[in-house]
Symmetry: C2
């Protein structure tokens, strides 16, 4: 299982945002939604071997963790508005304050918590932190069963970076330019597709 | 100059579409908008060395060609709705029926025409057609000053493929999976970034 963890420093942890002004009203949740598409959707199909975690640190009910599991998710459409509606409904689900991920829509799980809670649940799978200036992922011996951590437009905060380092996350980059998270995810997926070919389909 | 040409078989050539139901009402212009973002935008910046051409074959006023020139474009925001509004306004511009690209917004040019009109204007720059199953772009000697042609979710129609072949377009693929156009663009940009590094910034 490939796992992408997208950390939204200000991204809305509740459904209290407007579809007509997503970037401002959702604390840039839009950037995470685009990375979610890039992680999970291919041409006319869903990547069943990919899970996406959103770390939502903005607004009411923050922090929360939301997981979209490609093996169980349904009704995923590529356009940003459809994804925003799906995530808005998921965040609006009448869920008690739980610390364990609980399904709120098909393949979408939600709970209270932040990065340290997620890190505490990790097994011994390799973990990578995607950052500009780090070693090039190309030529690395990447694992398919791994965790890839990405920041939003603000990058990583110092505390998150320290928590990831303490858990042995290896910094990697995707090349010479600083890219949007969704393009970083596309390049990582492509590198893994090339390495493991269609074996995991 | 890197040039990405996105062929929208059904994509709206006029501004007569709804922001509330972009995929259906615009003939999947949304897929082209996402590829446009991927082609032109990097973290906190615009790629000044990239031009994007949309070939719009759907609805009233089709076919039309729309060009977004990274060296002149302003007010490009990454979220799909903002891009849709910008393109809608551009397509709604009170432009006479002209056969030459004419600026309708800063860095956005529009005219009547289809793929053959665009192909007739090409110089001797290399041209590539991105298609699944073709030779891998990795390891090819790619040019920076080149044309990259992509289809939408329907791929290429037979006539377009023949027109491109007649102009010597070389088929290339980006790996073993069939990806959305925006992810293909991200991988092509990454390959060119790696080849030409930051020289063109």
């Amino acid at each position: 299982m490939r796992r992408f963890v997208l950390i939204g420093q200000t991204a809305a942890a509740s459904g209290e945002f407007s579809l007509e002004d997503l970037p401002s009203s959702s604390g840039r949740l839009d950037a995470l939604l685009r990375a979610l598409r890039s992680a999970l959707l291919v041409s006319h199909d869903v990547r069943r071997d990919v899970c996406v975690y959103l770390v939502l640190r903005g607004g009411p009910r923050a922090p929360r963790l939301l997981r979209i599991d490609g093996s169980r998710a349904k009704f995923l459409r590529p356009d940003e508005r459809s994804l925003a509606i799906l995530i808005k409904k998921s965040l609006d689900a009448a869920l008690p304050h739980v610390r364990e991920l609980s399904e709120v829509r098909p393949g979408i799980d939600l709970c209270e918590g932040d990065l340290p809670d997620l890190l505490a649940s990790l097994g011994d799978e390799p973990r990578y932190i995607l950052e500009e200036g780090a070693a090039d992922l190309r030529g690395q011996s990447l694992a398919q069963d791994a965790w890839f951590f990405l920041g939003d437009h603000q990058g990583f905060d110092a505390a998150s970076r320290a928590q990831l380092a303490a858990r042995g996350a290896l910094p990697l980059s995707v090349g010479p330019r600083s890219l949007h998270a969704e393009d970083v995810v596309a390049v990582v997926n492509n590198e893994l597709d090339r390495t493991f070919n269609a074996a995991a389909r």
